[in-house]
Symmetry: C2
Subunit: 204 residues, 2 copies
Amino acid sequence: MKKEKEATTEQQILDAAKDVFQSKGMDGARMQEIADKAGINKAMLHYYYRNKQLLFEAVFKNAFSLLAPQLNIILNDDSSLEHKIKNFTFNYTDFMIKHPYLPNFIIQELNRNEDFVLKLKQNTGFPNLEKFKLKVDAEINEGLISPIDAEQLFVNILALNIFPFLGKPLIKALANKDEKTYKEFIERRKTEVADFIINSIKLP
Amino acid sequence: MKKEKEATTEQQILDAAKDVFQSKGMDGARMQEIADKAGINKAMLHYYYRNKQLLFEAVFKNAFSLLAPQLNIILNDDSSLEHKIKNFTFNYTDFMIKHPYLPNFIIQELNRNEDFVLKLKQNTGFPNLEKFKLKVDAEINEGLISPIDAEQLFVNILALNIFPFLGKPLIKALANKDEKTYKEFIERRKTEVADFIINSIKLP
DNA sequence: ACATTTGTTAACCAACTGGTTAAACTTTTT
DNA sequence: AAAAAGTTTAACCAGTTGGTTAACAAATGT
């Protein structure tokens, strides 16, 4: 067997499948289009991944494994809440600028098949809120921030960071933005969102 | 022609199409399933709506025409920003609890076909930000709120209100919530989100 | 050297999909 | 009451789709 090419073909398929699935979704994607983009015969897709569903799951798990570490930036480091929020907002936004299809792909497919998330939760490294909750409660007790439910705060942080990518076409339409001004708008959010959150919770 | 039944068949199709399109999206929806759900022959779909694309557009415009007035709650009334935010947050969340598929459907299909939004913008009643911007700037000048870009604020408001519905499966997984605790979580947001926003921008 | 395993292709297939057609039935018009 | 217009159905159709097969090519083991 050809060691190098073996890995390459399988990877070529995965790369092509990522492109097609992320832009068209499970239902809109076509096996033939993936094969064409990978520059190989359609039968190879089945040779390496058996069927569309398994190929899709490989792509999806890959995508989620990119997102999970981003979430752990805010959930599992030991810095102050203020630092967590600034760090996460900046990193996450920067990361998403480089992977613009990712949030929509994950949200869309998670909604299409709610049971699918159960498979992900079995993975080690699936993000966990416990440490974040403790930190929030600790800072409340120290009088550093005003009382707030940690889960609500976490969803607020996610919302403010993820929504601008999910709702890109809506935002462009509502605010009359073209691609350039939209990007500038997102760029500004790298710091503005963190300030917005911290303003809301920090005590003087 | 039968006046009553004429309207009814067309409406039955639209209702069935709404169900199927909103839960499966354009690509995942099947004309046969819509016909079955409407209890009629598949040919009738084409008789009334010509083809899948036009039927889809009818459903989509219908859905968007439900959303637009919700946005105008915050954009076009004359009350204070604080009142706008409280009013919008409460109304929007309450509305979405009753139409849970709506946000995901709109966001998903807007992302699938970015050009599609252009058709919507031609509609009269398409939400417009101008009045909201003036109000924000006015309250900044009056010293009521801290300086903030009106568009950023508006996207923040949208994000905090819409994301919890878009990211429902993700939130349920990350926070270990079942359907019941998720609903309680959303219910609390009707007031908490408004407080979170106002806390962030209001000056003492 | 040669048999075995692994990788690749072209051709094929059954099921499905959106859409059409022609005829039947119903309501409205004249 | 008959013609015209509108509504509904069953059967059909061509193109597409995910997936299979059988034969061929390349690498590997012995």
